[in-house]
């Protein structure tokens, strides 16, 4: 299965078939999640209406971390198997991850002003998320450093593995450090938020997830075509 997916023609064919569905289902889920969250979900007793930024802030923040782990996973695969498909997937996840980090930071700042009275504080959660943005930007620059793609891929995979320490730091910062950012509302043990709020949020999360996957695949298709044309 893995071997079959590592074949570039097969990957390109599969990506071209899957991508329209990812965009369509992702847009539907996000649209429904936002409609439900903005107009149907109840108001938060403490924050009032402004809490509704949760429907875009949380999915963006989760995607920023998840896409880094995806890039890291493909980095390991490209290191072990040296396949072009794994390498382009690793590279393609980085720009989308960087966009999601920017989005999480901006929506977080906008939400922070009416809630905390400030757009920004050097809080552990926010600082580590900003650090993630710099890591993404650094990795994207690193990928362009050398003209030899296989050398650049190995370098990138290695740097990705070093930078992954920041992900648990972001995730656990609200547990181990005294932060202004609120703690977990959703965890493996369950959810502490109203079921209607949680429904809208999960729909938005899956919508974001599918749309980000579609964007990553779209970029991977392009990079793979580019690589193959250079080899030929």
């Amino acid at each position: 299965m893995l071997k079959q997916l590592a074949s570039p023609p097969r990957f390109l064919k599969l990506a071209a078939q899957v991508n329209p569905f990812l965009y369509a289902i992702g847009a539907l889920l996000l649209g429904f999640g936002l409609w439900f969250g903005l107009f149907k979900a109840p108001v938060d007793f403490q924050q009032g209406e402004v809490y509704r930024a949760i429907y875009v802030h949380v999915p963006a923040a989760w995607m920023s971390m998840f896409l880094y782990l995806v890039a890291c996973g493909y980095g390991i695969l490209s290191w072990i198997y040296r396949t072009d498909v794994a390498a382009v997937m690793m590279r393609s996840a980085l720009p989308t991850g960087a966009w999601m980090t920017i989005l999480a930071l901006i929506t977080g700042a906008l939400w922070g002003k009416p809630t905390w009275g400030t757009y920004w504080v050097w809080d552990a959660r926010m600082t580590s998320e900003l650090l993630l943005l710099f890591i993404y930007l650094g990795l994207m620059a690193l990928g362009q450093l050398t003209r030899d793609p296989s050398k650049a891929d190995r370098l990138l995979a290695f740097a990705l593995l070093i930078g992954v320490v920041n992900i648990p730091l972001i995730y656990l910062s609200v547990v181990f450090m005294n932060t202004l950012h609120q703690g977990y509302s959703v965890s493996m043990q369950g959810s502490r938020i109203h079921p209607d709020i949680a429904l809208g949020m999960w729909l938005s999360v899956f919508g974001f997830w599918l749309l980000c996957a579609a964007n990553v695949l779209r970029r991977a298709q392009c990079l793979l075509i580019q690589r193959r044309s250079q080899v030929v």
Partner: protein, 60 residues
């Protein structure tokens, strides 16, 4: 300062813009690649036609 609903709408519109921009940037590059691949193919075909050879494989 923005009120609660203004803050929410700014966040939502910004998110949709970022998702669309990312899709456009990924696709724009793909479009450029496809266009350059097509141009390359066309140039090769012209070259083969000028040299008098067939552009199709397997034909004399």
């Amino acid at each position: 300062m923005l009120d609660a609903w203004q803050t929410v709408w700014v966040c939502v519109v910004l998110s949709l813009l970022v998702l669309a921009l990312d899709a456009w940037l990924a696709g724009r590059k793909a479009g450029t690649e496809k266009a350059s691949a097509l141009a390359e193919k066309r140039a090769l075909r012209q070259k083969q036609l000028r040299s008098g050879g067939s552009v199709y494989k397997g034909q004399p």
